[in-house]
Symmetry: C2
C-alpha cells in the first residue's frame, strides 16, 4: 500500500486544480510526451493505442454507411486556399506556411492543411461528371495543423490527428441528410462506446465553420462542468462546389452544381474521455477504447501453480477481450495503482486461495466494486462486468451533466448561474449576434448549440427582450 | 467484346512504352489522381484500399514481434535536424521549410519530416533511463515529404505514406538482430503476400542511409528488368543516441549509450506490385492486397433466378473473402474488362445454364485459366484458386528475374550485358567507391546490394583488377 499511496500522491486532486489534474493524468498514464516542437505532442504507445481503438470504431461505421477512405496531399497552394472567401478568412490566421523547398524559395507558398475542403473540391472537379458519379462519400485519416497560441494535450495542439469526411451529393436534401447521419453516428459511438452523453444541435452563425451554411455539433460536459465540442458536421450548400467549378450532368441532361458536406472528429475525443471519466486515481477508460480491458494481477505469484493458473486464465480471456497478465516482480500494490492510473476497466486478482476455491476476484475500475467469480464463468461474467463499467460511466457522466444544467429566464438569473460555477445554461435567444456577444461579455459563456430537442423556456430573449426564436445551451468551453 | 476492346485499347502496351503503360494503369485502374499540389498525388479509394491491406499485413507482423505504434510531430526544428551531421547533410537539400506560422515569421524554421530519427531520439532521451526501459520498439504510420525534382506516382513523390520503425537496444548485437529481423519480415510479407521475389542484402557505403552504419535492403526486379528498392532497414550504432544524449543506467550501474535501428516501407510497394504483376489488360493484384478478391459477374441477369443465385453466392463468399457482385446495367463484356483493369484476382461468372447445372465458372486474372466449379464446393475451391493465383504470380516474377539476371566476369562482358537491356548483373567488387562510380558511368548501373547469399564469380574486381571482397547485384533502378 505504500507504493500505491506514493503513486496516487503524484497526481494533483481534481478538486484542487482540475487543469493540473488533467496534465498529471496525461503524463503519468503515459499517453503523451511533450516534444521539442512548439505546440506538438508525442502520442506514446498507450495513448496511440486508444486512438487506434477509436479509429476502428468509427472507421467501421463509416464503411458500413458506404464511405471510402482516400488520401489527399498535406499541402495546399495559397491560390487553392483562397478560392472560397469565407474559408480563407477563417483559416488564414492559423496556418503554417512552407516558403522554401529543395533549397529554393517557392514561387507560390503552400500551407500545411488545416482542413481539406479545398483539396477534396479540387479532386472532385476531376472525377464528378454525371449524376451517376454521385454521391461521392470520401473520408481521410490524417493529421492537420492549426497555429494555436496556447496548447493543451489532446484539447488544442498545433498538430492533431483526425478524420475528415467530405461528400458530394446530387441534392441539398441528400447532403443535409448525410450531415445529420454522420452527426448521429458520432453521437452514437460517443455514447455507446465512449460512455459520454452528448447534446446534439446546430451551431449559431457566430460559431459555425468558415465557409459552411450550417454546422451541427455534439457537445459534452466534462467532469468540471465545462463544455467540450466533440465532433462537428457541416453542410456547405453548393458554395465550395461553385468556387471550384464542380459540375455534373443531371438526370435532366443539364449541368448542375452538387451539394457538399464535411465532418470530423479528432484526438480531442481522448481529452473528452479523460475529463469525463477520470478520477483522482488517474484515467478511467470505457472498455471499448481501453488498450487493456482486463489486467490479471496474481497474488503470491511465487507459490506453486499461481502463475500457471494466471496464464491459463489469460489464454482463455485473450479469445474475447484485450487482456494483460502482469507477472513482473513489482508488488501487487504497485500493480493495482499502476493499472488504476492507466484506467484499465477490470482487474482480475488470482492467488493460491482463489485457485483452491476455483474462483478469482474481479474489481471494477469505475467504482471499485468487487465480484467473486467462479473460474468456470469467466466467459460470461467478464463481458457482463465490462458492460456494467460502460453503463456505470455513462450514468455517472449523465448525472454530472444533469446536476450542472440550469435554466435561465432572465439576464440576472443567467449571470447568477454563470457565476455559480461551470455549468450548462439553457435559455431562449432572439438570434442576434449582439446578444450572443453580450452573454460572452457579462457571463463569460459561449453558445454551445441550438439543440435539436428544443424546449420552450420563455417567450423572449433574456438579453434584449425581443421575441425568442431558439433555445440555446450556453457554457464555458475548452 | 466491343466495350472490352475499347477499354483495353486505352492502355499503352507495356512492350511499346513501359513508362506510359504504368501511367495509364495507375490512372485507368483509378488508383490515383494528379493534384494541383506540385509533386503530390491523390490516393483514390481503390488505391488507398490496397494501402490499407498492405498496412494491415505489416502492422500485424510488427505487433506480433513486440512493436508498438506511436505518433511523433510532423515538424522538425532546424536545430534538431542538425544534431547528427551526416543525417542533415543527406536530407537538407530535399526538405520543405516552414518559415511562417500564425501570421508571423518564425524565429527558427522547421522542416516537414523527411524521416523521423531526430524526433524519436529526442523523445527516447526523455523516456529511456535504465536497461529495464530497453528495448524500445516503436513504429509510426504517417506521411513524409522529400522535395523531389521529378516525380512518378508511388515510385517517387514529394509526399508519400509509409511506416517508420525506430528502436533502441542495450547492445549492438541486439540492434543488428532487430535490423535483420525486420528485413526478414519485409521480405517475407513481400514474397508470401505480394508474390514478389526479393533479394536481401546490404547497401554499399555510397548507397546507404544518411547517418547509418549499415543499411540492409530488399530489392525486386520489375517486369521491365529494372530494380526497385522495396524496403530498407538501418543499423545506426550509437551515433544518433550520442548526438541526442540518450543514455541509460546499465546492469553494471554505469551509464551507457543505447544502439539504434530504423526501418521503413512505403506506398512505393504499390508501384512494385503494379510493375511486377501487371499486364496489357491492366493491374493484376495478388489476392492478399486486392480490395476485391472475387468479382461476381452474372450472365443474362434479367432472367429469373440469376440475380438471386448471384446474391446467394455473394453472401456465402463474403464470409471468407472480399467479394463484389456487379449487378449494374453494363454488359458482361464491359464488366470483364473493367475488373481485369482493376486486377481482381478471380472472376466468378454465373448464368441460367450454370444455375441449372449447379455450377459456376471461375476465371483467374493472372493467366485466364477457367474452372467449372460446383456451387457446393465454393468454400474450398475459391481459397484454393486464390492460392494458385498467388503462386502463379510469384513463379512468373521469379522466372522474369532469373531470365534477366546475368553474371559478368570482366568489364567488357559487364558493359555488353548492361547494353543488352535492363537486367541484374552479378559481379565481384573490390569495395572501392571509384569502381562503383565507374560502373555507373560506363554501364549506367547502380549497386543494388551485396546479397546475403554471396557467390564466388571471379577473384578480382572487373573494373580495377584488384582483389574482390564482395559479390554485388547491379542494375538500373527506379
Amino acid at each position: 500500500m505504500a507504493d500505491q499511496k506514493k503513486m496516487v500522491e503524484a497526481i494533483t486532486s481534481m478538486e484542487d486544480d482540475f487543469a493540473q489534474w488533467y496534465t498529471d493524468v496525461v503524463k503519468k498514464a503515459e499517453l503523451i510526451d511533450y516534444s521539442s516542437v512548439r505546440g506538438c505532442m508525442v502520442l506514446r504507445p498507450y495513448g496511440y493505442a486508444i486512438w487506434e481503438n477509436i479509429q476502428k470504431l468509427f472507421d467501421a461505421r463509416f464503411k458500413a454507411t458506404g464511405h471510402e477512405n482516400v488520401y489527399m496531399p498535406m499541402f495546399i497552394p495559397e491560390s487553392l486556399l483562397q478560392k472560397e472567401k469565407d474559408h480563407i478568412e477563417g483559416f488564414a490566421p492559423e496556418v503554417a506556411w512552407i516558403t522554401m523547398g529543395g533549397g529554393e524559395q517557392l514561387q507560390e507558398r503552400m500551407c500545411v492543411r488545416p482542413t481539406s475542403e479545398t483539396l477534396f473540391c479540387d479532386h472532385y472537379a476531376h472525377v464528378i461528371k454525371s449524376y451517376r458519379d454521385l454521391p461521392k462519400l470520401y473520408n481521410q485519416w490524417c493529421s492537420v495543423v492549426r497555429w494555436e497560441k496556447t496548447t493543451r494535450p489532446f484539447l488544442r495542439s498545433m498538430e492533431f490527428l483526425w478524420q475528415e469526411g467530405h461528400t458530394m451529393h446530387e441534392t441539398a436534401e441528400e447532403a443535409i441528410a448525410e450531415t445529420e447521419q454522420m452527426l448521429n453516428i458520432y453521437a452514437d459511438v460517443c455514447e455507446k462506446n465512449f460512455a459520454i452523453p452528448m447534446i446534439k444541435g446546430q451551431k449559431t452563425e457566430k460559431e459555425k465553420f468558415a465557409g459552411a451554411e450550417a454546422t451541427y455539433t455534439i457537445e459534452a460536459m466534462m467532469h468540471d462542468g465545462k463544455a467540450l465540442q466533440s465532433g462537428t458536421s457541416h453542410f456547405f450548400g453548393d458554395g465550395f462546389a461553385k468556387a471550384f467549378d464542380v459540375q455534373f450532368t443531371g438526370r435532366d441532361n443539364q449541368l448542375h452544381t452538387p451539394f457538399e458536406t464535411s465532418w470530423g472528429v479528432s484526438t480531442r475525443l481522448i481529452g473528452a474521455i479523460i475529463m469525463t471519466h477520470g478520477d483522482n486515481n488517474g484515467l478511467v477508460l470505457p472498455p471499448d477504447v481501453a488498450p487493456i480491458q482486463v489486467v490479471i494481477v496474481p497474488a503470491q505469484q511465487h507459490k506453486e501453480g499461481v502463475l500457471d493458473a494466471a496464464r491459463a486464465v489469460k489464454d482463455r480471456l485473450a479469445k474475447f477481450c484485450r487482456v494483460k497478465l502482469d507477472d513482473s516482480e513489482q508488488t501487487p500494490g504497485w500493480k493495482f495503482a499502476e493499472y488504476e492510473m492507466k484506467g484499465v476497466p477490470v482487474r482480475l486478482e488470482i492467488g493460491p486461495r482463489d485457485i483452491a476455491n476455483n474462483q478469482c476476484v474481479l474489481v471494477r475500475r469505475d467504482n471499485r466494486e468487487k465480484y467473486f467469480v467462479s473460474l468456470d464463468e469467466l466467459e460470461t461474467k467478464i463481458p457482463e462486468i465490462l458492460g456494467l463499467v460502460r453503463d456505470g460511466l455513462y450514468q455517472r457522466a449523465l448525472e454530472n451533466r444533469e446536476n450542472r444544467t440550469f435554466t435561465a429566464h432572465d439576464l440576472d438569473e443567467f449571470i447568477k448561474l454563470a457565476n455559480s460555477g461551470n455549468c450548462f445554461i439553457k435559455s431562449m435567444w432572439c438570434g442576434d449576434r449582439e446578444c450572443e456577444d453580450k452573454l460572452k461579455e457579462v457571463a463569460g459563456v459561449s453558445s454551445r448549440c441550438m439543440p435539436f430537442e428544443q424546449e420552450h423556456i420563455s417567450d423572449v430573449c433574456p438579453v434584449c427582450g425581443k421575441p425568442a426564436t431558439k433555445m440555446v445551451y450556453w457554457g464555458k468551453a475548452y
